[in-house]
């Protein structure tokens, strides 16, 4: 949606700015070749010169962008084979677009015509900052994914992988995960522990939150603090305490011991999310329901529960992930028979650095994404059905 008529900008502005972007890319390439400064300078000069040529000498956007795309890809190929070519092509496309975006003044198209230069700058500086934050959050997760297809048994990008040679890739670590008894056992343990722990957390947490939202409960602040303490106390302290306590009860090293421990860790998340949704809950609705002859149980399930359900579900998700990701407490409270996936990954990382861990991590990330997407879609659907948002 264009709201401002764009007009070409002077080259003296566009070329240096494009040069800065090139300098950043040059810095990355230079660092990989042990000379950051040289890379920075070359990147700046090359990109600025390119921008100058395209914008003041040869202003034919379509052709210019294709030339940039292919030239950059070739340069990448010369520097670092097939992988370099892929990165080079990506960079070429981006920088070609960037030069003309700047040169034609298209960056102003979606901003109101009255914005000052400084405001435009802040607008884009903010976007760049946000982009960088996402980059730092996502990169560590993304980088393990290609490594999990490594044909070797190390956490290393081999030369074959960088050349995009199919021989450098394999599914053997995925195969190992699905055929190795240790991993399968760990997966079934995780799958059998997490849902039960979640169910307990959600049940107890929701009830506690509802009870504590009633102003007539004595010492509610103190009780609340105690209930959410597992979230505040360092995990290793809880774990050591649970170890000795559960040992006395004969729960240490049993399935139910781990389930109970994980439920205790999950309850605070449920309490906090449900309490938050209860703030917006109108208590007169329960009185109205009672007035119409519903007993407290019916009131709860037919009136209160549907309204606080989003809080319950997100609390349950947190509780599930707490149990599914937890390694400290299970190392203490569980015995080898309750080895969960995080435990297996932990020992795997320590005793045998195998990319099977990365394959498992990739699978878990994919499952998490699917789970969150499903919940979000369900939530939207139910909101649409209830008429809360226009469908």
């Amino acid at each position: 949606m264009t709201i401002t008529i764009t007009q070409p900008k002077p080259v003296s502005f566009a070329a240096p700015v494009a040069g800065l972007a090139g300098a950043f890319a040059g810095l990355l390439v230079g660092t990989a070749h042990d000379n950051s400064l040289l890379g920075l300078v070359i990147g700046f000069v090359l990109t600025a010169a390119l921008a100058f040529v395209w914008l003041s000498v040869f202003r034919k956007e379509r052709i210019a962008r294709w030339v940039t795309f292919i030239a950059s890809g070739t340069m990448g190929y010369l520097l670092a084979d097939a992988m370099g070519a892929v990165i080079g092509l990506g960079f070429g496309w981006l920088i070609g677009w960037f030069i003309f975006w700047l040169g034609e003044g298209r960056y102003r198209a979606k901003l109101p015509p009255y914005t000052t230069g400084q405001q435009v700058f802040y607008h884009f500086a903010f976007r760049v900052l946000c982009g960088m934050i996402f980059f730092f959050l996502i990169t560590p997760i993304v980088v393990v994914m290609p490594l999990s297809f490594n044909a070797q048994d190390f956490f290393t990008f081999t030369p074959e992988m960088l050349r995009l040679d199919p021989a450098g890739y394999s599914l053997k670590h995925y195969k190992d995960f699905f055929t190795n008894d240790d991993w399968q056992q760990a997966m079934w343990n995780s799958i059998s522990i997490a849902p039960v722990a979640t169910l307990l957390s959600v049940g107890f947490g929701t009830l506690a939150a509802i009870g504590l939202s009633d102003e007539h409960v004595p010492f509610r602040r103190a009780i609340m603090t105690i209930l959410i303490s597992p979230m505040i106390v360092p995990l290793i302290i809880s774990a050591a305490g649970m170890y000795f306590f559960y040992s006395r009860l004969g729960l240490q090293g049993t399935y139910w011991g781990v389930v109970l421990a994980h439920a205790a860790l999950g309850i605070p998340f449920v309490i906090i999310t449900v309490t938050a949704t209860l703030v917006g809950f109108d208590r007169s609705l329960t009185r109205a329901a009672a007035n119409m002859g519903a007993n407290p149980l019916t009131t709860f399930f037919r009136v209160q529960m549907p309204l606080i359900l989003p809080g319950v579900i997100s609390g349950g998700l947190f509780a599930f992930i707490t149990s599914f990701d937890e390694v400290v407490v299970v190392l203490f409270v569980g015995s080898a028979g309750q080895k969960t996936l995080p435990w297996q990954m932990f020992t795997g990382l320590r005793e045998q650095i195998s990319p099977t861990i990365l394959a498992v991590a990739t699978i878990l990330v994919v499952i998490s994404i699917m789970l969150l997407t499903t919940v979000e879609l369900l939530r939207r659907r139910s909101e649409r059905l209830r008429g809360l948002t226009p469908g």
Binding site: F244, S335, G337, G348, R350, E351, I353
Partner: protein
């Protein structure tokens, strides 16, 4: 009629005897080991065959040998023993034995004699370093280096002091994040005679001297804490030179085909074996003893050497060591105990380390932090 009765009675007795025998033994076994290629070799050499012979038995592994001492202490305090058989180093076995956390055993009574009738205690010989310790393998801490380092100008390290020679062999090294072996190697390369090393380490002066020698390469050292670290670092070119267990280097070189070579000079021997935690219930103990008798006999220990290049602890196993189970290469030249490899080996004094470990650990860790 009478015959039938007798037959029936004897059958009943046999059945009763068999089931009584089965009832005596627990049918689950929790083994504690080191994970990785070593645990795999135990699995293949004797755990899988044992399960094949005793189909009802289930085995659970716990890869916790590295913290076995701490965990056994915690289990003892909590009065809740969840392990049945624990694989530990000789020095840890001594500590556990001293603290009463491991069971003392009579080796001749619970272990199989050699095929020629030699008693178990003679067959294991010096390897039995403690009354609680049932030796399995001799391994060594040794060095591996990358053979494609351009800066070395075609030279390769041949002796232990090359680790400290940053001029000829520049590049990062990996050393274990614990004092043992590092201190000895440092003193060795600082001119202390081999038989005086442990005397020197008992004095404050000797300890400082060892650390001063390590100071000369400290900036170039990546410290490892698990056996898998050095192979990963070498494969990744993060280091060019590093110490680890010889079996890990064998698998890096022979099984993973990495451009790495062994440097056997001044390899430090150590022994690894089982201990039975003290206080097992009778049925568990019966199962553990049954398993141990099988898993430590001459053939089984020789079989283990088909999967990993660690020397079997029994003398009678040595001639049976054959070829690698999958690669088909002769394993004998890859054993730390083979004549060529052991030319300049030194035997780590684990008795000394059992006594001094806590002191030196503290000193070493504070040196690391500075």
């Amino acid at each position: 009629m009478k015959l039938t009765t007798t037959l029936m009675a004897s059958t009943a007795l046999t059945v009763a005897a068999v089931s009584a025998h089965a009832q005596d033994m627990a049918d689950s076994l929790t083994l504690v080991s080191w994970g990785g290629a070593y645990q795999e070799s135990q699995m293949k050499a004797y755990v899988e065959p044992y399960i094949a012979d005793n189909p009802g038995v289930s085995v659970t592994w716990d890869e916790s040998s590295a913290e076995a001492v701490a965990k056994l202490r915690a289990m003892d305090e909590a009065g809740n023993l969840t392990w049945d058989l624990v694989d530990v180093t000789a020095a840890d076995a001594m500590r556990l034995c001293d603290e009463g956390l491991a069971m003392e055993v009579d080796h001749d009574e619970i272990l199989a004699p050699a095929p020629d009738g030699t008693s178990a205690s003679d067959d294991f010989g010096d390897m039995i370093v403690s009354d609680c310790f049932i030796p399995q393998i001799a391994y060594s801490y040794t060095f591996g280096y990358r053979n494609d380092v351009a800066e070395w100008n075609g030279q390769v390290p041949t002796e232990i002091c090359d680790v400290f020679d940053l001029e000829t062999f520049p590049g990062k090294r990996s050393l274990e994040k614990r004092p043992h072996n590092n201190m000895e190697w440092a003193l060795m390369c600082d001119g202390v005679a081999r038989d005086e090393i442990y005397d020197a380490l008992e004095t404050e002066e000797g300890r400082n001297r060892a650390l001063a020698k390590l100071d000369t390469i400290k900036d170039e050292v990546v410290w490892w804490s698990s056996g898998a670290d050095t192979p990963q670092l070498l494969a990744d070119k993060e280091v060019v030179f590093g110490s680890t267990y010889n079996g890990r280097l064998f698998s890096l070189i022979a099984e993973q085909n990495q451009p790495v070579e062994m440097m056997w000079d001044s390899q430090a021997y150590d022994i690894d074996g089982w201990i039975i935690p003290a206080g097992l219930e009778d049925d568990k103990l019966a199962r553990v003893l049954d398993f141990l008798y099988f898993a430590t006999d001459t053939q089984r220990l020789a079989d283990q050497a088909k999967y990993i290049s660690y020397g079997p602890a029994r003398k009678s196993s040595a001639p049976l060591v054959g070829e690698h189970a999958e690669l088909g290469i002769d394993m004998a030249p890859h054993m730390p105990t083979s004549p060529e490899n052991s030319v300049n080996a030194f035997v780590m004094n684990f008795e000394w380390w059992a006594d001094y470990r806590d002191d030196l650990d503290a000193k070493f860790q504070s040196w690391l932090a500075n």
